[in-house]
Amino acid sequence: MENIQQFSAVKPIIEFRGVSKTYQTGTHALEDVNIKINNGEFVFVVGSSGAGKSTFMKLIMREEKANTGKIVVNGFDLTNMKRKDVPMLRRTMGIVFQDFRLIPNMTVFDNVAFAMHVVGADGRDIRKEVSKALAKVGLGHKARALPNQLSGGEQQRVGLARALVNSPDLIIADEPTGNVDPNMSYEIVSLLTEINRKGTTILMVTHDHNLVRDFNHRVIMLDSGRIIADNVGGEI
């Protein structure tokens, strides 16, 4: 862990320099945001509704473009990135959704394999890596089940396996505990922490202050489009 942090100190995986975003409706979502997230960090992003968390994440994924400022993610300069290059950026990150976003008519295995098909992996690699990812989240025995046969927590772990399967450098988790019970929330964040220990950067949006407090990671707090706190150690 220490080694990872020493390395990460010299290499930011996400960097915002003077970033502002105003939507066409006139809403100022982010204003002059400056931040660096280093390789191997675990960061909670917190803030009330409308604070700018969603826009912050969308800008990282190049779902939205900043009006001003510069954003660099995983070595990609998003400022003038062409549309055709966006898939390459996204292949360097795994995304975990609050509502799991599993395809209902696909088995657990196929849901995870889907992410590998997209990047053009061959059949043998898919079988191997999907089994590994499912084992990592403790669902190796449920590979043939359909999503509706799983609990909320299990579904979110499938989502996590899907985000992990392409071995991304960065995982973006949008309130991954929003739809699961408190026990399962701890289990999921523990799993993310475990993944982070192996070197993957985690950026997790959450409303759950208990989790933030208990897991002692860096916290970025947004309010009205501005970063109002950036603390290491889970203090809000």
Partner: protein
Amino acid sequence: MKLSSISYLTKEGIKNTWVNRLMTLASVGVLVACMVIIGLAVLISENVNVAIGNLEEQNVVMVYMKDYNWALYGKEAPKNDTASSTTSGTEATTPENTEKVDENGIKDSDYIIHNEEEAKALCKEIEKLENVEKAVFVSSEEGLESIKESMLEGQEEYFSFLDDENPMSCAAKVTMKDMGKFDETIKKIEKLSGVERIVSQSDLANTINAIKKGVGIAGVWIIAVLMVISLVIVSNTIRVTMYNRKLEIGIMKAVGATDAFVRIPFIVEGMVIGLVSAVISEVLLYFCYRVATESIIGTLGTSDIVKYGDMALILFALFAGIGIFAGVIGSAIMIGKYLKHEGSEFAAI
């Protein structure tokens, strides 16, 4: 894109047609209707062409030549008075011109086609012209015979006096490839040396031409309109599929799928719809045409009807072409629009 991806996406596309089977069925139904109408238009147009072809074969052009008979009977009086010097019936010469003059007062330079070889050479020359199918030599004797044959029974004898003094010039019986270029071809023939006059049924040629043009234009319009309908139908099916698979597209985009990767299954789906429709249309049209032709043959007793077997391959190629075109273009337009305006919104965060 890797081969494994293409194979995966093709399977996905085929699977989609089954998953959305109700929409697929509706699209196939409408496409089949369009294709059968297109097929009928093609078959009707082909039958009209065959009928017109028969007419065209009959619509020959007679090109009469400047031969001896023309100089003797057809041509206006010779400019010189050499004829007067030949009354004796023996060959004579004028002091100015050493050219021989025969017993009828005709000399070699009065006509251009001197013998059968030269007449046949002119036929060959006519045949070389663009749009000329063939030019058959007709001797003056054959020409007279043909006139007699065209007379009512018993009237041939009125022409028997011509047997000793046949006034017909030799001719070329010309058939054209395309009646649309009738006037243009006639002008070219007229320019050839040795051609005296051309007798043709230009009215019939123009009528044939008008029918051909009409059938052609109607065919093109029918195909064009039905193509547009096919495109709209396939596009709508793909649109429904796309909205049904919004979640999947969102996830694809989130994990780094390229636009091509998202597009391919929909394009495959469109192609499958098009191809299935083509096969069904081919079979359906075969039975419809068989019933129709049997009834026409039974009623009119004609056998000059295009056989389905002769057209089967062309029709299938046409149907498959329309199906694939409608499938590929229809789905490409829809998915392109979707990806541009909505597809990149996976809106989870």
